[in-house]
Each structure stands twice: as structure tokens, then as C-alpha cells.
Symmetry: C2
Subunit: 150 residues, 2 copies
């Protein structure tokens, strides 16, 4: 179920994801950051590293999922929340589905590559989704990056 | 463009991908294997390791893409062919799209999780697709695995 309701804790964790996005920006990467929480504790932090690693799969979400699974010692994240500064792409949505993520919270929407373009059966039915947390800050960061590229 | 035409070289490389799938099977993994070629040379081999690594992103294709990008030193695989024993899922199709893969060849179809369920705009328009190479052998391997699980 998608909703726009979020609380202070969501804002706090999205701030942490934005810190990751800023780190990506400093490295010349498309500024996307992610954190994964488990019962209110951060268990994974990651930022986009596709350029640095020459790896198209090195999105923030993918790395965060791998790290979080390592921490929980299993391949399901049904007790976890993923905070990410940009709407996940299809690849990341696929990974989120495989992980049976408990809750997805993202900031800015991605009207070009976002998974909601294919809305319906992509995420696992157990995963709840919240959007819009600090969307403006995240969007500004992305705009800044692409403006610098032109 | 999707087609069912393939040659001896495709069969040979799919055999190599099937070798990887068999290795996965020996480890108790869902038997899926992949190889990536660059101008007729194998530059990456991988098999599904989701159980071993406790990582839902550790599909054969994902690992092969990461390894191949490392070898070519870039994040695009437009000169490469990915041979995989099972139709890629949405996550892997997303990764294949980001990598702008030149050609995708897969054996068995996956009517439940295969990306062609969402046919159309998922793969990069430059990527050509061939299906059915050694599909029966690959399908048998998968059936064997799931039969053993019941």
C-alpha cells in the first residue's frame, strides 16, 4: 500500500540517506543514497557507486540490500525499512521484491525510470511503500548534479 | 528483437552456462548459470549464490554483469553477449538494461518471474534477444532441483 504519511523518524532516517547521497555527489556519482533499518536501528548505509566501480548494478539500494542481508544473516528483509532518496528503478524494485522488504520509503519520484511506471505486481505484496519524505531536498541534489554535467 | 535462431557457438556458450548451473545445483542453489562473452571469448562466468551468500541479489546474471564490467573496465556491455540458462527476472533485466547489453541469449523461459511478462520497455532498445538455446536441458535441471526440495 502506498501512502504519503510519514513521521519524524522517517524524516530522520531519510536525512541519513541524504547524507549518503551527498557523499555520492562528492564522488561525481548520481547522488542517490540509502539506509536500511531494522526495528529502528540503521543496519546498512550505501550510496550509488556505478561510476567509481564501473558497475551498472552498484545502485545504493542494491548495495544496501546486500549489506543488510549480511547483517541479518538471511536473504529476507521483511522486518526492515529501506529509505532511499530516489524512487527505485526496476532492477532495484526487483531486488526489493526478492528480499520481501517490509517497508519502502523514498523521497523524490523518478518519472523516467521509477518502478511505479510498471505499478502493480513488482514489489512483494507484503511491502508497504511511503513516498515524498524530504523529496524536495533529494530532488534539488539531483538537479544540482545534472546541472553540473551540462 | 527476439528470435529463436541460434548457432553452434550459442549452443557451446550455453553449455558453459549450464556447467555453471550444475555447480549451483551441487551447492543446493536454484540451478541457474551464466556466462558473458566479448567478441567470442568468455569474460565472465557465474552461478546463482543467493543461499550461500544469503543475498537475494546474487543471481547468476548480476554477478556475471559485475564481473564483465570489471573486465571491460566500463559499465556498458554493448559489445557483449550474456548467456543464461533461465529467463532473467525483472531485477536482472533491469541490470541488463543499465549495462546496455548487446545481446541476451537464454535457455528456459520463466513463465512466473520472467521479465517478458512485462515485455516492451524493460531492456535497452539496442539489446537483441535469443531464446530456447538448450532450453530442455536447463528446464530439466531446474525441475530436478525443485523435485528434490519437495
Amino acid at each position: 500500500m502506498e501512502n504519503l504519511l510519514f513521521d519524524n523518524q522517517d524524516t530522520l532516517f531519510m536525512q541519513k540517506a541524504l547524507d549518503q547521497a551527498r557523499t555520492a555527489l562528492q564522488k561525481g556519482e548520481v547522488p542517490v543514497g540509502a539506509v536500511i533499518t531494522y526495528h529502528g536501528q540503521i543496519i546498512a548505509r550505501a550510496h550509488n557507486l556505478t561510476e567509481t566501480l564501473n558497475d551498472p548494478t552498484a545502485h545504493a539500494e542494491m548495495q544496501a540490500i546486500t549489506a543488510a542481508c549480511d547483517t541479518v544473516g538471511g536473504k529476507y528483509l521483511d522486518q526492515c525499512t529501506l529509505y532511499v532518496t530516489l524512487e527505485p528503478c526496476l532492477m532495484c524494485a526487483g531486488a526489493i521484491a526478492w528480499a520481501q522488504l517490509g517497508r519502502l520509503v523514498y523521497a523524490a519520484s523518478d518519472p523516467k525510470k521509477g518502478f511505479t511506471l510498471f505499478q502493480g505486481t513488482i514489489l512483494h505484496p507484503k511491502t508497504s511503500t511511503t513516498t515524498g519524505v524530504l523529496a524536495e531536498v533529494s530532488g534539488r541534489l539531483l538537479k544540482e548534479f545534472f546541472a553540473g554535467k551540462r
